[in-house]
Amino acid sequence: MKQKFILTLVWCLLLASVAWAQTRAISGRVVGSDGAGLPGVTVLERGTTNGTSSNANGEFSLTVQPGASLVVSSIGFESQTVTVGSGSTVNVTLKTSATQLNEAVVVGYGTQSKADLTGSVTQLTARDVENTPVVSFEQAIQGKTPGVVINQTSGKLGAGLQIRVRGSSSVTASNQPLYVIDGIPVTSQDVSSDTEPLNPLGDLNPNDIESITILKDASSSAIYGSRASNGVVLVTTKKGRQGQTKVNVGYYYGTSSATKKRKFLNAAQYKELFSEAAINAGYDDPADAFTENGLDYDSPYDESWVDAGLRRGYVTQYDFNVSGGDAKTRFYLSTTYNDQKGIIVGNRYRRGSARLNLDHSISDKLKVGLNFSLTRSVNDRVPEDNDFSNPIQLNALPPIQPKYDPITKQLNQATLYYNNLLDLQNGMNRAGTYRSFSTAYLTYQPIKGLTLRTETGADFLNLNEELYRAAGTQTGGNSGYGYNNQVQVINYTTNNTATYNFTLHEDHSFDVLGGFSFQRSDTKQTSAEGRGFPNSEFTKIASAAIKTAGSASSQSGYSFISYFGRLNYAFRNKYLVSGSIRYDGSSRFGKANRYGTFGAGSLGWLISEESFLKDNSVVNYLKLRGSYGLTGNAEIGNYASRSLYSAIFYADQSGITPATSVNGVLTYAIGNPNLSWESTAQTDLGLEFGLFKNRLSGEIDVYQKNTRDLLLNRQLPYLNGYSLVTENVGKLRNRGLEISLNGLVIDKAVKWNVGGNISFNRNLITELVDPIVAGGNTLAQVREGEPIGVFYGRKYAGVDPETGDALYYTADGSKTNNPAEASQQKLGNPNPKYTGGVTTSVSWKGFDFSAVGQFVYGNDIYNTAGSYQSVNGDYFDNQTVDQLKRWQNPGDITNVPQARLYASNGTAVSSRWISGGSFFRGKNFTLGYTLPKTLMGESVLKTARLYVTAQNLFTITNYDGYDPEVNSATFGSANYILGHDFYTPPLAKTFLVGINLGF
């Protein structure tokens, strides 16, 4: 949309410039490296706003000043500057951009060329996200985003992701970036009823995406004011271009399996360990201990329960799109069907989507457009990690108990823990979504350079969750259980902007933006819950005898009113100055603090434009830029500023209690009328360079983000009746370094490109009233002087060689076998020291190959399930194989204490189950072959490409759990419970073959 914006602008300017004196007409053609005409390329007279764009055949014509140079650019291609000279024809061949130095970049409420940009942004294109076996686009760009850490958290399809742009900027408010699709902020927070989030961005078909821009520093993001502190992700969908109609058909199919399975004891090992544990606990006959728990000591079975929860999955996608148009009307139309059968039993995701993006020029000055999409997705979900129904929890079942009852041949119900395969046989857990992202706009150019634009967008989300567990399942009890939840989120925005571009005295270019925006979001939810079904064939709550407490309806909403402006100024295209400001008001803030002002300023110096570097044989591009600005974070919940009373039930009566109620969960939080946004002041210094005609290019950024007025839930003493208050207290800091490099190593018939990026971020809580202790079985804390989510608690000191007791460190460094005497200390850090990725691509004739590797280094993972599964036979949960190394005789040196049934020898939450979480992952390998044109001849088929892809091909890690990319959300979505594994499913390793045909 933003590109269109500029295109229209230049059309307008072209017409206006005809009247000017001393100009002359030129024409030409822009072709790609394959010689085919490139439509929609921007051709701009250098130093002016006079320009045009190429037609379907790549042809253009333009009237220019004598001696002019033309800047020819298009997304995905290297820009070129050509001197017009004396001829009237200019032919240009554009090279596919390997370095992306001069591409057009989507920014807030507009576009800019990368060279003119004074902020820090990362832009990705359609090629980065197309045809990847993922649910949502963020999963496809892992490893390609310096400064942005994307953690998939779990292998569940459609699960919420954890995305951090330049570190965690908040402790209790959201840390997820603001997502803006085609100019409209969309609902990106989970709205489902489950503890573990769904990712609402899975409703956007990745194949519809033209570009993804991540605004990282204050200069680029401050235009989004109170919601910019976590970064802003701008997604632009594909547009039709003037020219011959293009038809694309794509298909892929692949299979997937778990990246890794944790290893557990087999039947013989299990019996050995637990017999020993029982004897050590005082049993004369270990078989008695088995019998007490319903286990058969003489069982002939050796079941692999780990395998029972995982399976081979598949992915398949059908993709069809048509685009084209003429000078008046352009269109892009697409439909996609995606079907993924997950590697976790019961997990499946299907999505069908359709999109129509339409642009029409009513006149040269007036344009309208509509982007409209409709998505239907169906997600057969996996229960949350901390649920006996989670198939990964099957690994806790003793191998001596069989999966099927030997007599009835039905699923065995007499297992130590619930055999949750019964849920799949007799139930469903489905989240179905209807989603529409739509935007309509009107632009008007009353005079040269001035564009008035009004746009209105609506993001309509309808989620229908349905859970059914028949009688005989654990949740179903004796009569069956059903739950149905209907959520409707209507989120609408209107943006009204005026943009004015002009150049004064040739040397001074201005780009001015002013605007107003209003957003309102309303969520309505209705749920029904029931028990008492006649039999398992009745699954709707209409058939439930008892409607239980989960039956409810509720509503929530928020609004924003914003005014904003931006000024970009360039002097001789060398010295760049930019400033932006936003005035934001929100219903979320306390009455005393309803409006806030945010803004940023930045400077840039294009050193390569200076005479001393111009035409330098080594350095062809060099830019130094710096920015400073203030942004906010408003994601604090909608009514946190108020003290509230909510309903509470007493049998058939209803009372009130001084608490807020969310989905029936009461929170005793006292209100704070002074509550306001969280402020982040960010300084960024960046250097961009291109060497050897951009054969080697790169970007280095250093930044410091100081966040103050942290929206913290300060814990209050329980004794006055309240648990917390949300306050603007506390400070934290993120500082970091991002480096990305890209090299075109060979540029002949064979083209070989190598790239890489690495990001360092150091998070530090600099001011905090009281430590925040996540509690439960977690180690997560927030403490002043430590990074967010620091692991803090008892330090495990191994095993006493004499007694086999588990030992812990005390405050004075000595060891104790009494966990209560252990001191609380820092145990680890779930935040990585650095993250990044490496990419390479090779093309030769029709072949193309690309590879993406992703790495995370220096973070710790705590296996919260360790106190059940790696605890030297304390209870009858099956144990991980490393527990066989238990202490047996005095003098044994080992880390695994003596096996003692029920004796809590080493069960205390401690550093015992912390391990390093560093990994390097072969993220994506794709080999493609495009059939030669000669083969097509005169057939309607124009292009054909076959490819094979391996996703998550290998993972190199020392983590002994399932998958090191883990962040269980089961303990609540608290930002500071990081790096905790709790029966969390691994990611999928996928191999697929695909074909794309163009007509």
Binding site: Q413, A414, G514, Q653, G671, L719, N720
Partner: protein
């Protein structure tokens, strides 16, 4: 150029001003399913809703919904019940390996103080209650709830009341000020002594007895307050006062023993009920991770069967006693202890028949307890005749052989309390007040004795609470 600027500026300003006035009220979005605290208690009806809220809080799993009944039976459960469940928090309690971050210890504390504050808020809002009777009733109910919870807290988090040391032994903080602002809610307070807490409990209950009507539907009446005060005095060892109150309740409350004990639990609000938490299938303490039936019951898919009744305890019932067991399953048994039938538990394990439905009411104080208090206090005062009659009234109701005049003794009365009030949250409190050690036979057959003064029979002050209120002193051994 200038005109364009100024025109655009005017247009923008105009548009912005219009938009501002139209949208300003859009920023004032009230929460749809809650009300603002400033107006929440400003009428008689609203205060009445808050009083219902006081009782609703008592049904939370952290209070009588589960923990205040279950925890006293699990603490010191050796020889009595076995914890079979996967929740390590309970396993820590029964094995005395509890740590200061034990979630149960934290949530009982938290929710009890939430309700105490709500009681304070109700008392503070009484001036808008126009009806004099209603005003007295509401105050009585609020003081009853506050006293009840302070009593539960001091029993769990403090040492057993001992007249010699109660004025130095640490109890729990006493919160009497309604928290309405952030400043109120942030006040830190040290632990009061056990004596101070008991004094506050007694003061509140004495006031409640005066304020409450003699009957009050299924809510607290003056006799409920008297019955609770009798329990408090008994715990304190003030047998004379306990006797007077128990006697008063038995004679004047109009309550009578239910024909069967089973009916007290399967029916709602039986004739012997003095205070009962009201539940139904929709509003109850929980059906999967909380709730008494969830942990006790083991009837096919109903309940987790986490609490197993040990044979060493069920053997104490006589063969005819319907409170004991006939080793039949729930659908066949005529007795109160049955054989579980849940698929994931070993067969042939005993379960309590008191908690078998998620939506059943939870009797907190019933007349049988008053008879047993009167029996014990009378016996201690030398009146073994009353004691014998009261104990036998309880025994014969359940078809147990009546005791003879030779058999009545303090230990017989105390054993009768255990038999009658089993799985109702009395065990550890009775052991503590009578100084009875926990004894059981280990798996290898050796007898084990755990001293009742073991510090692990006292819950830890939640670590989280100490973190934010450092003036709190932790209990011994944590």
């Amino acid at each position: 150029m200038k005109t364009i600027f100024s025109r655009s500026a005017v247009a923008l300003t105009l548009g912005a001003t219009l938009a501002l006035t139209a949208c300003e009220k859009q920023l004032d979005l009230a929460p749809p399913q809650s009300v603002d605290a400033t107006t929440a208690l400003n009428s008689e009806a609203k205060v009445g809703s808050a009083v219902i809220g006081l009782y609703a809080k008592l049904d939370e799993p952290s209070l009588y919904g589960t923990q205040l009944i279950l925890v006293p039976d699990v603490l010191g459960g050796d020889g009595y019940v076995n914890w079979q469940g996967s929740f390590t928090t309970y396993r820590e309690l029964i094995r005395r390996t509890t740590t200061s971050i034990n979630n149960i210890a934290e949530t009982i504390w938290r929710v009890a103080y939430q309700d105490i504050n709500q009681a304070n808020l109700v008392i503070n809002a009484l001036e808008v209650v126009a009806s004099k009777d209603l005003k007295a009733q509401y105050e009585g109910e609020a003081r009853f709830v506050r006293a009840d919870l302070l009593f539960e807290l001091v029993r769990l988090y403090g040492k057993q009341y001992n007249a010699g040391t109660a004025s130095t032994d640490l109890g729990v903080p006493i919160s009497l000020t309604p928290a309405q602002t952030l400043e109120d809610a942030a006040v830190e307070q040290p632990r009061a002594t056990v004596a101070q807490v008991y004094q506050q409990v007694i003061t509140d209950l004495q006031a409640a007895i005066k304020l409450l009507p003699p009957t009050n539907g299924f809510r607290a009446s003056s006799y409920t307050a008297k019955a609770l005060l009798a329990r408090v005095y008994l715990q304190q060892g003030n047998y004379a006062e306990a006797l007077t109150l128990a006697d008063d309740v038995i004679k004047n409350s109009g309550k009578s023993l239910s024909p069967t004990l089973q009916a007290v639990f399967t029916n709602r609000n039986s004739s012997e009920s003095l205070f009962e938490i009201q539940q139904n299938d929709q509003n109850n303490a929980g059906t999967s991770n909380n709730g008494l039936a969830t942990f006790y019951a083991n009837i096919d898919q109903l309940g987790r069967g986490d609490v197993q009744v040990l044979g060493s305890f069920s053997n104490q019932y006589g063969p005819t006693d319907v409170r004991g067991t006939d080793s039949l399953t729930a659908d066949q048994t005529k007795k109160l202890i049955y054989i579980g039938t849940g698929p994931t538990r070993a067969p042939d394990l005993l379960r309590s028949g008191k908690w078998t439905s998620y939506g059943q009411n939870i009797p907190v104080i019933r007349l049988a307890e008053m008879y047993l208090i009167r029996a014990e206090a009378s016996f201690r005062a030398g009146d073994s005749e009353t004691a014998l009659a009261d104990v036998n009234r309880i025994r014969t109701r359940s078809n147990a052989t009546p005791l003879t005049a030779d058999e009545i003794s303090l230990s017989a009365i105390l054993r009768e309390r255990q038999l009658e009030l089993a799985f109702e949250g009395f065990r550890i409190h009775d052991l503590k007040r009578t100084g009875t050690n926990v004894t059981y036979t280990a798996t290898d057959g050796t007898p084990v004795t755990i001293d009742i003064t073991n510090p692990r029979f006292v819950l830890p002050v939640p670590q989280r609470e100490i973190n934010v209120n450092p003036s709190l002193i932790q209990n011994a051994s944590y």
